[in-house]
Symmetry: C2
């Protein structure tokens, strides 16, 4: 099998677990945070810098690559790994989330989705078959079934019809996907309805995917509701398979996701806020662009071992951000990714040593916002 | 003395010469190209990357740093080297060129220049004394006298008055500058008039600076006229002192500058065109952003050993540029700087082996544009 999950340690008091994900491009410790490289590049970073800071799997977006440079071109280059010179793991989403986000620019039928490009208005069609074929061309280690992310809020009727269709689509994805070197994950939907989450999980588990994502969370609902959905849904998934919570990546949600037994996360959060001048530290967030740091010659985080913190001051980084220098974005991005990757390592270590609950208490006792 | 020039080899047929520049932050082979780091950062690059590709001295702009973050702040950080974590050489310009470029926003008197910031319209005053003090705060290895760059074209009368004032200003800079660890260079002006270039060179040599820049060239005049001015001016400068041609950095002008005996160059050209998607190769320039490279999976220059060429294809770099990804700008900038730095090394080697004229013939035989 292309991708295999190995359970190393189950927390004795919570759902948290430490494991390993075996892929054709390496074995990665879980729980893991996957940096997002939407357009075949993690914004501002080189693949060698990502590797050096301990990144294992990155996520890339099928919708964007399908439009630019086109999946055939990526295939000609030898696939996404060769194109972007990343020899670690890659996961591609199905394009579904982006296409559905286009709002009035898209139309859904049972067959698939017709949409217009946000770039030039050109007309396109993605179906479960097409999305899977595109992802096969890109050649990621893990690809995702084409789904509809149920919007929040949604009526039960709509959520039910959508979730049932997502299951039918997952079946169609599976039918065209037959490649041993690539794992196709199913995506559990169901909105904020426990009965639909149960239905979705049951139906997808029946289809026997090598891994399961939980989609449709972190879409605007209160965090408590997201945690409730996780608490309900994760136990419905097989313990032998990896579990991936899509689009989640703030430290608080990572802790709670891990608590409920999630193994994989991705989010644009650390890289996006970095470019706005916000950095994460062991003491909470810091808007390093703010005037208060103009003459602060300390590193972002004196506890941190990243390239930015080992070399540069808050004052210098603030200067770079204020003057809109690219190197400023490189430094804040470097720091935030390093911070989250090491945050996950710390959580994993806590699970291994069966002190995850203590880790969580300590985290919440000083977490701001 | 802070900065000392050591002549290693004089070309037997041309003015070209190979030497070494000894500074408090290292000894650097000349002729040398100095990358421009306007705002205490060479755009898109880290100081460690610059070092790794063989950059020796970089240039930073007094005008920009004076406005943001302010020279007092840089001094508090321990000077420019500490602020930006660059342990190689630094040269700062005097701010004169930028201030004079402000056009209607500035007013010149014998005392100095009153101007309004291009950022917020705030009023400022730079004089020879002030510009020198600001540069002393920044702490570069080489600082420049405050001059007026005679515009092109200019009347002889205006050019004469301006050049004479520049000499008086140079004297005033020298009077306030007394720091052994920092070298103050004089700047020869005189517009496109040989008699004024002679006058300027004679007067400045009289003042005995540790190095001389030639300013007021590459300001819109035909290149032949620039070469004529170089041919006339360089022999008027002492052979024991380094010679710096300001604002010049295209391969053709570098070759001709070296031919006439120039040791130091700086220019935003390689970094600026890189950000517009143009790269230099041994076969001429290449607009890697162009559609023709969409499926070109070769490196920018198969002869090149830079990070970009060792790892990435034209197709990938074009994709990054088209999608406005920061990493694309990093790669083209890396390539162009590496290319020019190694171009200078090749020229130096040719001088050492007394085959510079052959190098020049070979260069012109395949140079495009």
């Amino acid at each position: 099998m292309a991708v295999r999950y190995e359970l190393i340690k189950q927390c004795s008091q919570t759902g948290a677990r430490a494991g390993r994900l075996h892929t054709p491009h390496g074995t990665f410790d879980t729980p893991i945070f996957m940096p997002v490289g939407t357009q075949a590049t993690v914004k501002a970073m080189s693949p060698h810098e990502l590797k050096a800071m301990g990144a294992g799997i990155i996520l890339s977006n099928t919708y964007h690559l399908y439009l630019r440079p086109g999946h055939e071109l990526v295939a000609e280059a030898g696939g996404l790994h060769a194109f972007m010179q990343w020899d670690g793991g890659i996961l591609t989403d199905s394009g579904g989330f982006q296409v559905f986000s286009l709002g009035p620019l898209r139309k859904i039928t049972e067959e698939g989705v017709t949409f217009r490009s946000h770039l030039d208005g050109s007309k396109h069609f993605l179906s479960p078959e097409r999305a899977t074929e595109v992802q096969m061309s890109l050649g990621a280690d893990i690809i995702m079934a084409f789904d509809e992310c149920v919007p929040y809020p949604a009526e039960h009727d709509y959520a039910k019809a959508s979730t049932e269709r997502t299951t039918r689509w997952a079946e169609r994805c599976k039918a065209v996907h037959a490649r041993d070197k690539q794992a196709l994950f199913g995506i559990v939907q169901g909105g904020m309805f426990k009965d639909l989450r149960s239905m979705s999980a049951r139906d997808l588990v029946e289809l026997d995917f090598p891994g399961y994502a939980i989609g449709g969370l972190s879409v605007g609902e209160p965090k408590e509701l997201m945690y409730e959905m996780l608490e309900h849904t994760v136990p419905l998934l097989p313990i032998t398979k990896p579990r991936y919570l899509m689009g989640v990546g703030t430290p608080d949600c990572l802790v709670e996701g891990v608590l409920h037994g999630i193994d994989m996360f991705d989010c644009v959060f650390p890289t996006r806020v970095a470019r706005n001048g916000t950095v994460m530290t062991s003491q909470g967030r810091l808007v390093v662009k703010n005037a208060e740091f103009a003459r602060d010659f300390r590193p972002i985080d004196s506890q941190c071992g990243c390239y930015a913190c080992r070399n540069f001051s808050r004052a210098y980084i603030r200067h770079l951000l204020k003057t809109e220098e690219i190197f400023g974005l490189r430094l804040t991005t470097t720091h935030n990714l390093y911070f989250l990757i090491h945050f996950m390592k710390d959580m994993r270590q806590a699970i291994i040593e069966d002190r995850f609950l203590e880790f969580r208490v300590a985290f919440w006792s000083h977490y701001q916002r």
